[in-house]
């Protein structure tokens, strides 16, 4: 295993990743074929050192499953995940464990993701105990304290329990826990969606500062396109387990090329009465189809305002539209 990185090698390369969950009906016969819920169905992307990739989509689009699959927290069905040049598909638990030293995760629900029976010091220090077991107590405590101060907690809070903190502070603890090993990549799964607007801005600004300071690469997952815009360089839009569009931020927000991205952007309410009252909406009809039985061809075609007959024939792959944009729409 090498940690040395050639300049052009991506930190993470994901190719045709699939995560399918088997579903058995409650009253299925033994010979009934097992059906599969296709949570992630053929997603490919690369992540380079120091950059931020935003992943957006509505609930049920597979963005959280994708994040978990990148760390083997859910079993990978098919495809390849290459971290630092090492193929991780089918790797042993030990190999994954070693990788996680450089790849950490921040979870959505700040309180539920912290063990209620551990103190802040124990929570933040646990990754050190696991991955750097030889550390002396004094140095261990020093590192924990330094990390706490860095994320905006105070030294007096070191022996407190998670329930004594507000949501925003709990998320700071989660960030400290993820960053104490000085990882290269942090996967943030909806880190701010449970927080109030004023606290959201605190956490986003903190993540940006820490990223600049430590040279982190971030995978930032959110359902809120406006939040993602503030932190990402590139953005991937997912729908029903597939990538619809992957583009440089400005290309995506200024001239979205996929009809789903366009609909998503126009649906976001803007905090400006004149804009909001005057804008024309591209309203999507209906609901998300079931991921157990997705539509043939393009999964978005059942709700797409521009769908034509050809959309049902083949699954469109992401293809290069401009140097900045890849889209999975046959019309773009």
């Amino acid at each position: 295993m090498t940690d040395a990185l050639t300049p052009n090698q991506p930190l993470l390369a994901v190719k045709d990743l699939r995560v399918h969950f088997p579903i058995r009906g409650d009253n299925a016969w033994p010979w009934t074929p097992t059906r599969f819920l296709k949570a992630v169905d053929g997603v490919s992307f690369e992540l380079r050192a120091g950059e931020t990739l935003g992943i957006v989509g509505e609930s049920g689009c597979g963005k959280s499953t994708l994040a978990r699959a990148l760390l083997n927290l859910v079993p990978i069905t098919d495809g390849s995940v290459v971290w630092n040049g090492d193929e991780m598909r089918g790797a042993s638990a030990q190999a994954w464990q070693a990788k996680r030293k450089a790849v950490q995760m921040i979870f959505q629900d700040p309180l539920a993701s912290l063990d209620p029976r551990m103190t802040v010091a124990q929570i933040i220090g646990e990754p050190l105990r696991t991955h750097v077991p030889g550390l002396s107590n004094a140095e261990h405590n020093e590192r924990v304290l330094a990390m706490m101060l860095r994320v905006g907690l105070t030294a007096q809070q070191i022996n407190r329990y998670p329930h004594e903190f507000s949501g925003g502070q709990c998320q700071r603890i989660g960030i400290a826990r993820a960053l104490i090993l000085k990882p290269k990549v942090v996967i943030c799964d909806e880190p701010v969606s449970a927080l109030d607007v004023s606290i959201q801005a605190q956490i986003i600004n903190l993540l940006k500062e820490l990223q600049a300071e430590m040279g982190l690469a971030l995978i930032f997952i959110a359902h809120d396109l406006a939040v993602v815009k503030h932190i990402s360089q590139r953005v991937m839009v997912m729908y029903l387990g597939r990538a619809m569009e992957l583009a440089q931020k400005h290309a995506l927000y200024d001239s979205p090329s996929h009809p789903y991205t366009q609909a998503l952007l126009s649906a976001i309410p803007v905090p400006d009465p004149r804009v909001e009252r005057g804008k024309s909406l591209q309203l999507l009809q209906g609901d998300l189809p079931s991921p157990i039985n997705p539509p043939s061809g393009c999964v978005f075609r059942t709700r797409c305002p521009k769908a034509i007959a050809e959309c049902a024939l083949a699954v469109p792959a992401l293809r290069v539209i401009t140097t900045e944009t890849q889209s999975a729409c046959i019309l773009s």
Binding site: V197, V227, I268
Partner: protein
């Protein structure tokens, strides 16, 4: 007969207090507003600001340890002091409510049909058969596809957006004069949220319903509301028409909130965060509840509660702050500059 025009709804000094083991906690402190036919009032605030409790108090739905004070006048009748039997004739009928979570506020044991016909049988004395016809019409009005078939389904068979449509249809069954919507789109995805907001706008246009919209999303407020009330720590910080709130925010909290919202338009300037965390309602400061987090607080802000009164720059704007609007605007520009310099 008094000649003063009677408002559809008039709330005067509404307060909510809870008896807790830690003593009496005041969740809402003196909010007042009037609402007329076809108007929309937005109540904005962060979690714990008292926005939900204030409307629950209006509907007589507070928890048993809660106590409402003040007056909630619906066509001159006070909902708070009236006997429960009278209140039951008004709530759900003339004043209806949509709750935040469409899954937990529908009864999972009953079909949608039973839940909807019950409303009409109780309030309108309709037969089950007539009620069913009316319920199907209501579901059609909220654009539920195949309403006649789906009315026989249970709540778990619907998606989140469809469940919220059922909630709205149910609230509109008796064609209420006032519709109170408590975060109706918070649990929904943006594309579904857009469908629901357009639906509410159309229903308001068609039936002239007055809406009280509670939300933490300033974007939702911008699209729907005429008048906006900003709550913090159970107190009204600023209350004005939507344009004044969004284009000339005069309270440090309103201005800070607007600067903290991530925006799609414009550059990538870092969002201006409000430092600190929401206040502990059991230990509010004697002065303005926002003092601790206010970057422009004066020494007297922590001890002396600013009066909630018409602003000097615009009598239509009601606000509670010791600073004038010019000071607030100037301070905010300075904070933005400082933040820009740091980034």
């Amino acid at each position: 007969m008094a000649t003063a025009p009677m408002h559809l709804m008039e709330v005067k000094q509404l307060g909510v207090k809870f008896k807790t083991p830690d003593g009496l906690v005041s969740a809402v402190n003196g909010i007042s507003f009037t609402l007329d036919r076809g108007e929309t009032l937005g109540i904005v605030g962060e979690s714990g600001s008292g926005k939900s409790q204030s409307v629950l108090a209006m509907m007589g739905l507070l928890a048993t340890n809660g106590q409402a004070t003040g007056q909630v006048l619906y066509l001159g009748q006070d909902l708070i002091s009236m006997p429960k039997a009278d209140l039951n004739r008004i709530r759900g009928n003339r004043v209806a409510m949509i709750f935040q979570d469409p899954m937990t506020s529908l009864n999972p044991y009953l079909t949608v049909e039973r839940q909807m016909t019950e409303v009409l049988e109780f309030h309108k004395g309709m037969s089950r058969k007539d009620a069913r016809v009316k319920a199907v019409q209501a579901l059609d009005a909220v654009k539920m596809p195949e309403a006649a078939r789906r009315i026989g389904m249970y709540p778990h068979e619907f998606s989140g957006g469809m469940r919220q449509r059922v909630m709205i249809a149910m609230a509109l069954l008796c064609e209420p004069d006032v519709l109170i919507a408590d975060e109706p789109t918070t649990a929904l995805d943006v594309t579904v949220q857009a469908q629901i907001l357009i639906l509410m706008r159309e229903l308001q246009r068609d039936f002239g319903t007055a809406i009280v919209m509670i939300t933490h999303d300033l974007g939702v407020v911008a699209g729907l509301c005429d008048e906006v009330m900003v709550l913090y720590g159970g107190q009204v910080m600023e209350q004005a028409n939507a344009d004044a709130i969004f284009y000339r925010p005069s309270h440090p909290y309103t201005a800070g909130l607007l600067a903290a919202v991530p925006r799609l338009e414009g550059g990538d300037a870092p969002m201006l965060a409000i430092p600190g965390a929401p206040p502990n309602m059991a230990k509010l400061p004697a002065g303005c509840p926002f003092t601790e987090r206010c970057a422009m607080a004066l020494p007297k802000c922590g001890t002396e509660r600013p009066p909630f009164a018409p602003a000097a720059h615009d009598a239509q704007v009601l606000r509670a702050c010791h600073l004038g609007i010019d000071d607030v605007t100037r301070n905010l520009e300075r904070l933005k500059m400082e933040q820009g310099a740091r980034a």
